[in-house]
Symmetry: C2
Subunit: 443 residues, 2 copies
């Protein structure tokens, strides 16, 4: 059986093995996921992947096959195998919502539990967040640049085949409306779209034959690919075949702005005033911004979406910030590594608003009771928002966060949160984060 | 049941649906995978992923659940569902070996069969090749820069969790010796390695406690992480705890060259002359080249490996180049799209050598019989190598290409093929491809 238990680095198991022997495995711990910096020049990042993480944690318990692998390869001792047979994450996870913005040092996800149960989740949590946030962050910039024109994910072929499915999901968080990827459509209920490939035209004896076949199969509402040979001829043939009710045409090469403009004039002259023009061809936020004045109706985005538009990972790390000591109390811990030091104590991310406009990210650090007291005392101030939700409460997963509805709600949440940021957040040029982050230690 | 049948873009199914109605679905076709250009400045690319593609093709037949999805969402007609129920790829796939170099226009993979059976494989073949080749290409540069020092994949956490497993595999093709990722170790039999995280030191009351625990669990041959607080103190403690037989130390921050040098002096002075030094921290081929003179024994490589060291995808495309016409004969086909035109006829990639040194890539294009005649007539010349092998022969998969042995054989093949390239192939600076490619049409 396939579980998530081996989506781990070996050292997680060997650390647990050693810690079970010496007793520290049972110490209460708080681990946090954050990034030390946004990708160079980016104004904000977008959280995605929480629903997927919860699926993995739900299915983390090692199978007999997993345990046999760990035993036969002498990765852990028999005592640890026995402990793993009863593995169940009984801790608590607090996380930024999917669709929420994050910045450097935002406590995107916090895992509280015993050292052993938290340690095993490091790799799978980081893998999901590092990829999914990279894609959602790129998607957000792309859909911002597209304005009211819908964006469709067509990137499956340019990413690892499973990453592609997650990319479709993260693209929705960042504002995409549809995907070409069937596995993503099935798994997440994302609306599925498609046109045709050049091969479909080429396998036929003529472009007209291909268009006739496609219209016969899919109706006049279909989108015909018009750049296999000559775009002008193709459009003429397309309207002859489908009539002026032709749904759309796709252009996949050349100078898209002037080709779209010419196509629009030609379509209008042929009476196909409602025929949509969709363009594809290595589009990203910059290319789409440059097409703003061209008569384009929708964008298909591939490579640049699924590779995070230049930033394919988010540099999220998973760090121990607080743990139980021999005295039974929680203590802050931090490493001093040069350039990679960490701050002790658990954190809480809040966003401060003025007239509904975000002014900054406030990261509180401190003992749990002090943070809770502060948060309670501030509840009367409407203009401070707690950015995190409890996704797992003492082992009980909030399964509503794993649904299709949660995915589309994340997109709505993201759209709203983006409108609350200063307008420079929407700038595509390199610059400072949209809002400053301040870390305040309460103790 | 999980099959590969939905690792497809929707248009592949709708094209098949239309082509089944009009009869072109049964036309014999040749599709080819190639890239129009290497990533900017790269001297060569490395093929990886063929074994994974064969696994997918073996498991491509849609399950009842897949068929229900296609039917319920009206993606294809009932006739097409009936056709899909009996899907079996009965065609032939010729491909560059895993570990082989490729250049712009190298016919990396060629799929021959009916239009319908070949069309459905487009996305899954491209997804695998685009990702796996990107990682193997980066891995090759990284291991070249590392020379005789072994490289371990530690990138799982910085990539999508399933991509991470494929990255470990592709890293082996490119010369890596081990991985931290347990799922990859289990699936592909890759040697697994690990040290400890900073959290392990932090959860203990002291660094000494942590080191004692790790040595107790894993023996003195283990590798201790020494940069949580102060490297010099940590090394002193490490040797006190483990003795001079300590297996290794890991440094994960700071100026790695001078820290390694200092650590080596300190270890030697403490009598731990055989204790290895492994370094990690956002390493790539450039950082590793800069460490050549530092006393480092091995490298752990993460982010930059799994993101293709700046080039996370390979821009491979899947194009129809030849198909049966109404006359029953094969005809070359090509699209004219501006900047993305293709050349008709099937291709065959050959490498030409002189004194055992590769001089160029010769890509023959033409009808099957002419290519076969040419290849046969050239067999007397030892200095021309046919770069492709038959991976699927009329539906029969060469399952030896899917084994663990094939993976490690690919690494050996790659090492040899790299030695046969002009030495400028090993240059890390941007430049021209290591050898020129010439396309010759035989007709």
């Amino acid at each position: 059986m396939s579980t998530a238990a081996l989506l781990t680095d070996m050292y997680e198991y060997t650390m647990v093995d050693a810690a079970l022997r010496d007793g520290t495995a049972h110490r209460q711990c708080v681990f946090e996921v954050f990034t030390r910096h946004l990708p160079s020049g980016r104004r904000y990042g977008v959280v995605a992947g929480l629903g997927r993480i919860l699926e993995y944690i739900k299915n983390f318990k090692p199978s007999d096959e997993d345990l046999a692998f760990l035993r036969d390869n002498h990765i852990v001792s028999t005592d640890t195998i026995n402990w793993l047979e009863n593995y169940h994450f009984s801790g608590t996870i607090r996380a930024y919502r999917e669709g929420e913005m994050f910045f450097a040092n935002s406590p995107v996800l916090q895992v509280e539990g015993t050292f052993a149960e938290c340690t095993l989740l490091e790799t799978v949590i980081l893998s999901v967040l590092n990829y999914d946030c990279a894609i959602a962050s790129a998607a957000s910039r792309i859909t911002s640049a597209a304005g009211s024109r819908p964006c469709a994910d067509m990137g499956g072929r340019r990413a690892h085949e499973e990453a592609a499915i997650s990319a479709s999901r993260s693209a929705v968080v960042g504002g995409f409306v549809s995907t070409a990827n069937l596995a993503a459509a099935k798994r997440y209920g994302i609306p599925c779209i498609g046109t045709a490939a050049h091969a479909f035209t080429l396998v036929h004896d003529s472009e007209r034959d291909a268009f006739e076949s496609q219209v016969q199969a899919l109706g006049t509402g279909t989108t015909l690919l018009t750049d296999t040979y000559n775009v002008e001829e193709a459009i003429r043939t397309a309207v002859e075949v489908a009539g002026s009710e032709l749904g759309g045409i796709r252009i996949d090469s050349g100078d898209l702005a002037s080709m779209a403009q010419k196509a629009r004039h030609q379509l209008d002259a042929l009476g196909a005033k409602n025929t949509k023009i969709t363009v594809t061809n290595d589009l990203d936020e910059y290319a789409i911004a440059a097409l703003a004045t061209a008569p384009v109706d929708s964008y298909g985005v591939g490579t640049r979406l699924v590779t995070g538009s230049g930033h394919p990972t988010t540099s999220m790390v998973y760090k121990l910030v607080e743990r139980e000591g021999a005295d039974g109390h929680m203590h802050p811990v931090s490493k001093k590594s040069f350039g990679k030091s960490t701050d002790g104590w658990r954190k809480r991310g809040l966003r401060v608003y003025e007239y509904g406009l975000a002014q900054g990210e406030l990261v509180l650090a401190g003992p749990a009771d002090k943070i809770n007291d502060w948060a309670a005392s501030q509840s009367e101030y409407e203009e401070v928002k707690d950015l995190s939700i409890i996704a797992i409460d003492h082992g009980t997963i909030d399964e509503s966060l794993m649904t299709r509805e949660a995915l589309f709600a994340a997109r709505d949440y993201h759209n709203e949160a983006l409108r609350e940021l200063p307008v420079n957040a929407l700038s595509l040029s390199d610059g400072e984060p949209a809002i400053p982050t301040e870390v305040v230690t309460l103790n």
